[in-house]
Symmetry: C2
Subunit: 156 residues, 2 copies
DNA sequence: AGTGAAAGGAGCGATAC
DNA sequence: GTATCGCTCCTTTCACT
């Protein structure tokens, strides 16, 4: 499992694929200036080395009826046991799309996606606040999305 | 542009594709219980109707040298002009991966991805704080990622 | 709407440079 | 390491149910 640094072609492959994950290998090869075979080999290597974790279709949240996005700051009684319990509980809530451990006064930052405020209340009160050790929950709601990216700034 | 509601097969297609955006059409058809032809038609229709906005490769941030993720709350002098200017400025900063208008005391919430703290300082001080109208910037850093999803909770 | 067959093209291995 | 060949399978369209 040696890890030779990525060269310019690898970076171009990654950049192209994070912009369009369904590029066919021939199109990708053309974009990065390789012929298809070595291009495909590189893609496979990048996948196996873990640089590419997977591929996803990006769906239109609103069109699918998920009109509410909230960021929820959570403070818990901090000890190893409580943390583990909280993480497990959060894993099992599909409406919690992301969960980060943060610096600052709040321990966790959660991103929650739900159809409406009723559904949010359900998640907040019936799920999050039920987790033992949760002390404080503060929610902010997304009013507008200026930018929503999945892509890393590889072009820098 | 009529919008007939999605049926169960459509939802299964969307769910499968947001989990694996590179599923071949035959595999997808099998998973959702259709034969390849109608399955492909539905996918095309979902793409054209905007339910599927695109496809992306999900890359391993850390392995690519982006060790720092920050959430930055920004408060600005609020007027139509200042907002427009701020949004345009943010669009042009690739390290700002996401930007939301929020309820609460802070106007914007930005997610910033950079290689290290020096790069963050650069973005924060040389880019964000230079934008006219920016009054307050408060940054929190991600210490650990419990969950990081792109997928909507379609299974509910 | 879904099925089935047929043509074009892509993936992917083998081989040569 | 990269390019070319060739076979197989998928994708995609069309006619039919």
């Amino acid at each position: 499992m040696a890890k030779p640094a990525l060269d310019a072609a690898d970076l171009r492959i990654l950049d192209a694929l994070q912009r369009n994950g369904r590029l066919s290998n021939v199109d990708l090869a053309e974009q990065v200036g390789l012929s298809p075979s070595p291009c495909l080999r590189r893609v496979r290597d990048l996948e196996e080395a873990g640089y590419i974790q997977g591929y996803a279709a990006l769906l239109d949240r609103r069109r699918l009826g998920f009109g509410v996005v909230a960021f929820v700051e959570v403070k818990i009684d901090q000890n190893a046991e409580g943390d583990a319990r909280f993480r497990q509980a959060v894993e099992r809530i599909p409406e919690v799309v992301s969960c980060f451990v943060m610096t600052g006064t709040m321990d966790y930052l959660l991103q929650v996606v739900v159809p409406d405020l009723d559904a949010f209340a359900e998640v907040s009160m019936r799920r999050l606040l039920q987790i033992p050790g949760v002390k404080d929950v503060r929610s902010s709601f997304v009013l507008d999305v200026v930018k929503h990216g999945t892509a890393l700034p590889l072009g820098r």
